[in-house]
């Protein structure tokens, strides 16, 4: 099995699906000849031609809105928004149109498209290139949202997303793009949207995260005493999310710490914590804790690491939750 980075795994999924399904087209800024600013679509235009890997004018609302039309007319568009901060100009098309079509036409008009978006901080990027706005799109009815943290998951989830009958926002943690390689099958496989993954099994505490924060959690686990048995769950899908996976785990452990880099207030952690107290209140031995970003603008990079949760903070929270 070949070893791939996150970038390569996504590229492989895109190539494979374009080969399999001629309705699939990629459109976005610099995705063609340049292969995207992160080179995620590298080589695809050479392979599939400029009619299927399309450099668009610089207009996110234009990209999103025309992708909606393409999808409505039977294509399978994969619009790329260059950085999560630039979902801003596309917000209206994504949330007020793509998300709503099926419902407002009672199923007559649908928008099967996958919006690929580099996401998150930690790479010393400029302003609006480091945010984690997933909650906004999780909160929007009609959108599915995924955020894989590993090459293997990225490929399987991307193939599911492209084949999904509804719009899916596919967040790609930039910090992980090239941070490591793992074995990724060359053949076709899918990972269902809505399934979390248990990374390490444990009995004392459940640690829940997604995106690049998963790696801060893993690092934290390495620093914990051996007698602390922590179960780490990578949500992977943010909407729909895997309620059963976290409930089952917390029923077992009775303790939970949720880690995300988005601002704390009304972050997805707030929802997960609520679900846990609704579903396993009597199992809880401690309040659910959050280690999250602060309720501030993602700072420019000199303060970026002060903003982002890290392994030490996670380990501290785990220790505190266990000691409660």
């Amino acid at each position: 099995m070949p070893l791939m980075t996150l970038v390569q795994a996504i590229n492989s999924a895109l190539a494979q699906e374009m080969e399999r399904d001629e309705r699939v087209v990629i459109l976005g800024e610099d995705v063609g000849l340049n292969g995207g600013v992160f080179r995620v679509t590298d080589g695809l235009q050479a392979k599939f031609g400029p009619d299927r890997v399309i450099d668009t004018p610089l207009a996110e609302s234009g990209i999103m809105g025309t992708a909606i039309g393409l999808a409505m007319a039977g294509m399978r568009p994969i619009p790329e928004i260059q950085f999560e901060g630039f979902l801003g100009p596309a917000y209206d098309q994504l949330c007020n149109h793509a998300a709503r079509y099926r419902s407002r036409t009672r199923g007559a008009v649908t928008v099967p498209m996958t919006v690929r978006v580099p996401w998150g901080g930690g790479i010393h990027a400029p302003e609006l290139h480091s945010d984690s706005p997933e909650t906004i799109y999780v909160h929007q009815p009609g959108l599915k949202v995924v955020c894989p943290s590993t090459p293997y998951d990225a490929k399987g989830l991307l193939l599911s997303a492209i084949r999904d009958p509804d719009p899916v926002v596919f967040f790609e943690p930039k910090r992980v793009y090239r941070s490591f390689k793992e074995e990724v099958p060359e053949e076709d496989y899918t990972i269902p949207i809505g399934q979390a993954k248990v990374l390490t099994e444990g009995t004392d505490l459940t640690l829940v995260s997604w995106g690049s924060m998963v790696f801060q959690c893993l690092e934290a686990l390495d620093t914990l005493p051996d007698d602390m048995s922590v179960e780490l769950i990578d949500m992977r899908s943010l909407y729909p999310f895997d309620t059963d996976a976290i409930v089952q785990s917390v029923e077992k452990t009775g303790r939970c710490v949720i880690v995300h880099e988005a601002p704390k207030t009304c972050g997805l952690g707030a929802e997960l914590a609520t679900v846990l107290q609704e579903r396993c209140f009597l199992h809880l031995k401690a309040p659910v804790q959050r280690v999250a970003g602060f309720d501030v603008m993602m700072p420019y990079y000199k303060l970026e690491l002060d903003y982002l949760p890290n392994a030490q903070k996670v380990a501290q929270a785990v220790g505190q939750c266990l000691a409660y």
């Binding site: 800024e29 292969g35 600013v37 280690v291 970003g293 990079y301």
Partner: protein, 378 residues
């Protein structure tokens, strides 16, 4: 019934100092005979451009040696920035930039190291000093033109003889906000000048793929706005067109559009590799049209400049650039309080105040008490 012609448009291209550094003597003078630029002014602006280029070059090297994050070089676009900056009145008119007109910002009083601070990942580079009339660098493409329109609108409401001038690239003209700004500016006849630096590329997308319009300038026609195309590497043409537009706006004549045809001589940013998508021959051809070379040839032909002066200027500019870097790097790291303190005007909401204090104690994203932990457990 015969078909009537209901509208006709014409786009002029203004060039005064051509690629061979020949000056069109007639266009180099205003109708009243005054020169568009005196010799002393040309000399001063040329030296300024060289100094700006030196800072730009050094910024590039800083990035390469890991002392700065991503940086978008301004190389090749200095005549456009300096020309427009010269035409606007410092301390009166308002500059609303994107990120490729540093020279104009510096001319209007922004300390040079602020731009470096910004790209070194420090918001204090955006903390525009009092009395400097400009907005900070704008990273999201095409959004700032609406702000310029609003600023100009305020000037009009208050009957102030001031103008806003906004800078943006060729790519930015594809964003919806650009068109809304143009329409508002024109519908309300506000004193705003739209200055497009058409540098032929929006990262990897060439100007011809960006839009099917033959010129960018003609886009303004649809909004009923006076518009012109100029050679953006020709300081004289930029100054003349910008002065025209700015003074028309000041006199109540409403907004104007300028397309400055120029070229991005460097990669899009230090994170980019333009060799992937553009022809070296194209770059070479534009290198010959470098505005600094053109102006120097002009000055030398007029015996206002020579190699010795150039060597002295280069040394001085390099030393000054080094000093700018020293200033930027000498500023101590921002405190973590900074990321909270400017979220709102004081006082901060209680939750934010709590988060700020929690971070000061190097604790987690929430105050331990919020998780039901006693102070002792924390």
């Amino acid at each position: 019934m015969p078909v009537k012609n209901v509208y006709e448009a014409r786009i002029e291209h203004l060039q005064i100092l051509d690629e061979e550094a020949r000056l069109d003597e007639k266009l180099a003078k205003w109708p009243d005979g005054r020169p568009v630029l005196t010799d002393a002014e040309v000399l001063e602006l040329y030296q300024y451009m060289v100094r700006c280029r030196a800072v730009d070059d050094l910024a590039f090297k800083l990035q390469r040696s890991g002392r700065m994050g991503t940086y978008p070089q301004n190389r090749g676009q200095e005549a456009a920035a300096v020309g427009a900056g010269f035409a606007a009145k410092r301390g009166v008119d308002y500059l609303v930039p994107c990120y490729r007109e540093n020279a104009a910002l510096w001319m209007h009083g922004l300390p040079m190291h602020y731009v470096l601070l910004h790209w070194m990942g420090d918001e204090r580079g955006n903390q525009i000093p009092d009395g400097v009339c400009q907005t900070p660098l704008c990273i999201p493409i095409g959004t700032q033109m609406l702000h310029a329109t609003g600023i100009a609108w305020a000037f009009k409401m208050r009957k102030e003889a001031r103008v806003a001038i906004t800078f943006f690239g060729d790519g930015a003209t594809s964003e919806g906000d650009f068109h809304e700004a143009m329409n508002f500016a024109s519908a309300f006849q506000v004193p705003c000048v739209f200055f497009c630096q058409n540098n032929q590329w929006a990262i990897s997308v060439p100007r011809e793929s960006q839009t099917a319009s033959e010129t960018i300038a003609q886009k303004a026609v649809a909004y009923g706005m006076p518009t012109t195309q100029v050679d953006g590497n020709d300081l004289f043409a930029v100054v003349r067109a910008s002065t025209d537009a700015i003074e028309r706006a000041r006199a109540g004549g409403g907004p104007s559009f300028i397309e400055a045809v120029t070229y991005r001589l460097a990669d899009h940013t230090t994170a980019d590799d333009a060799r992937r998508y553009r022809d070296a021959k194209e770059v070479e051809a534009w290198q010959k049209r470098d505005p600094l070379i053109r102006l120097r040839s002009y000055l030398q032909a007029r015996k206002l400049w020579d190699d010795a002066k150039q060597a002295a200027l280069d040394d001085e500019a390099k030393a000054a650039a080094t000093e700018v870097v020293r200033t930027a790097e000498g500023i101590e790291a921002p405190s973590t309080d900074e990321m909270f303190d400017y979220t709102f005007a004081a006082p901060l909401p209680a939750e934010l105040e709590l988060q700020k204090r929690t971070l000061q104690t190097h604790s987690l994203g929430q105050d331990p008490a919020q998780a039901g932990l006693s102070a002792q457990q924390a």
